[in-house]
């Protein structure tokens, strides 16, 4: 893994992977949404409103996953002192914040017709909101110091501390009684969701995963180029 910490190698590798990941993301998301909107049946109770799920659930998965990626990158950065890992963590944070925001916003839009309220203060919603604030705090902390490396390291420690929130998000629906439904895909004994609804969901999730990879690579490349530009201009 240490071999990939070389920025020059990363630039070459990402230039090669970027177009293919972009194509994969576009194709998977297109197929997934076609399946979700035209093939998957409407819910017998919720009608067509159930289609919000195909945006809500994949962005919720990605919101947690991106945080995990960010925390692992932060740990790698603190342990082996790879600057590239700091760049990865800091590039992932705004993307994760966006996925979390999309998850909260679509959840709210879905909650209004189904639960009759835009927002309830239950464990799942609150813990995801905390996740959103952790992303915001991470971004703010990384940019709060005149010395950039100091900010990166402080933010990395915060990212690792925030990992305690991930199991709380996952198990909040099992530990507390909430309006939010329990896990129906990643659970013991297999998914309880109909296959006709499950496959578009998984395809869209895979598409979102590639979208995340594309955005992450783009942001990391930009950050590296910006650092290079700064070095050329100011000689630091």
């Amino acid at each position: 893994m240490q071999r990939f910490a070389n920025p020059a190698r990363f630039m070459r590798l990402s230039a090669m992977l970027l177009p293919w990941s972009a194509i994969a993301a576009a194709v998977l998301i297109a197929i997934g949404f076609y399946g979700a909107l035209f093939i998957a049946p409407p819910d017998y109770q919720q009608g067509e409103a159930v289609k919000i799920m195909y945006v809500h659930v994949p962005s919720a998965w990605l919101a947690s996953l991106v945080y995990a990626v960010m925390a692992v990158a932060s740990a790698v950065a603190l342990i082996w002192r790879h600057p590239l890992a700091h760049i990865a963590a800091e590039s992932a944070a705004p993307i994760g914040a966006c996925f979390t925001f999309v998850c909260l916003a679509t959840g709210s839009l879905w909650g209004e017709p189904m639960w009759g309220t835009w927002w309830v203060w239950d464990a799942r919603l609150t813990s995801v909101l905390v996740l959103f604030f952790l992303y915001i705090g991470f971004i703010a902390l990384a940019n709060a110091f005149d010395d950039r490396t100091r900010g990166s390291r402080a933010a990395a420690i915060l990212a690792i501390v925030g990992v305690v929130n991930l199991p709380i998000i996952k198990f909040s629906v099992d530990w507390w009684n909430t309006l939010h439904q329990k896990a129906s895909v990643f659970r013991m004994g297999g998914p309880t969701i109909a296959t006709s609804m499950l496959w578009p969901l998984l395809v869209i999730a895979a598409g979102f995963l590639f979208l995340f990879a594309v955005l992450l690579m783009l942001r990391m490349r930009t950050a590296l180029l910006r650092a290079k530009l700064r070095a050329l201009r100011f000689g630091t």
């Binding site: 604030f133 915001i136 915060l158």
Partner: protein, 221 residues
């Protein structure tokens, strides 16, 4: 252990000789609580209903106010760096600082809280649970706050940043603290909430010093 005690007595002595700090926190707490009857109207039933929440939220903000000075004074005059050279592990030093912080904020807040609860017409049955919850919950505020205070050392606008980092992490303490106090006031079982608060305390007691010490180490570099 002697290092822990020495650091604790030093911080306490500093706090009392400089004076005012403890009084300021308590005064802020009392004033902020007293604002609520004016804000929502003096209806006793409404007051009793929101008393636990008001006390907890203001206690949390009062603890937050004093967090900035947890490491900052020692960081500014360089004594923190000298302390880090002591043979006592940095984690133990963080623990001593948190203990001093709790003794100068959490404990006075817990002592004055029943008095303010009286003003807010809090149900008499809820007092033991309120005090127990504050005793268990306020050390967690100091411990989690230490991580935030260590991370924001030397940052621009550190105070605002500190609240942004620490307040989301305070939410569990707030939830279980209020739940314990309210359950008792309504005649329900408050034990499960108190046990969860104790679990939070045990967890943060074990983990927070490591994170705060790591944050302090990278502040020296």
């Amino acid at each position: 252990m002697s290092g822990f005690a020495a650091l604790l007595t030093r911080d306490l002595r500093l706090a009392f000789r400089q004076g005012g700090d403890v009084a300021n926190v308590v005064a802020f707490f009392a004033l902020a609580v007293i604002l609520f009857p004016f804000g929502v109207g003096p209806d006793p039933d409404l007051m009793a209903r929101i008393a636990a929440g008001v006390l907890w939220v203001t206690a949390l903000l009062a603890a937050l106010l004093s967090l900035e000075r947890l490491f900052d004074a020692d960081y500014q005059d360089g004594s923190l760096e000298a302390l880090s050279l002591m043979p006592v592990p940095l984690e133990i030093q963080v623990l001593a600082k948190c203990a001093a912080h709790w003794l100068t904020t959490g404990l006075p807040l817990t002592i004055i809280a029943p008095l303010l609860a009286l003003v807010l017409h809090f149900d008499a049955a809820g007092y033991p649970a309120l005090i127990a919850a504050l005793l268990l919950g306020t050390p967690v505020l100091s411990l989690i706050g230490a991580i935030g205070a260590a991370l924001t050392l030397g940052a621009r606008r550190a105070g605002v940043l500190l609240s942004l980092l620490v307040l989301p992490l305070y939410i569990p303490v707030l939830i279980f603290g209020v739940a314990a106090s309210e359950a008792a006031a309504l005649g329900l079982e408050s034990r499960p909430h108190l046990l969860l608060l104790a679990a939070l305390l045990a967890g943060s007691l074990a983990l927070a010093p490591w994170a705060a010490a790591a944050a302090l180490r990278q502040a020296f570099e």
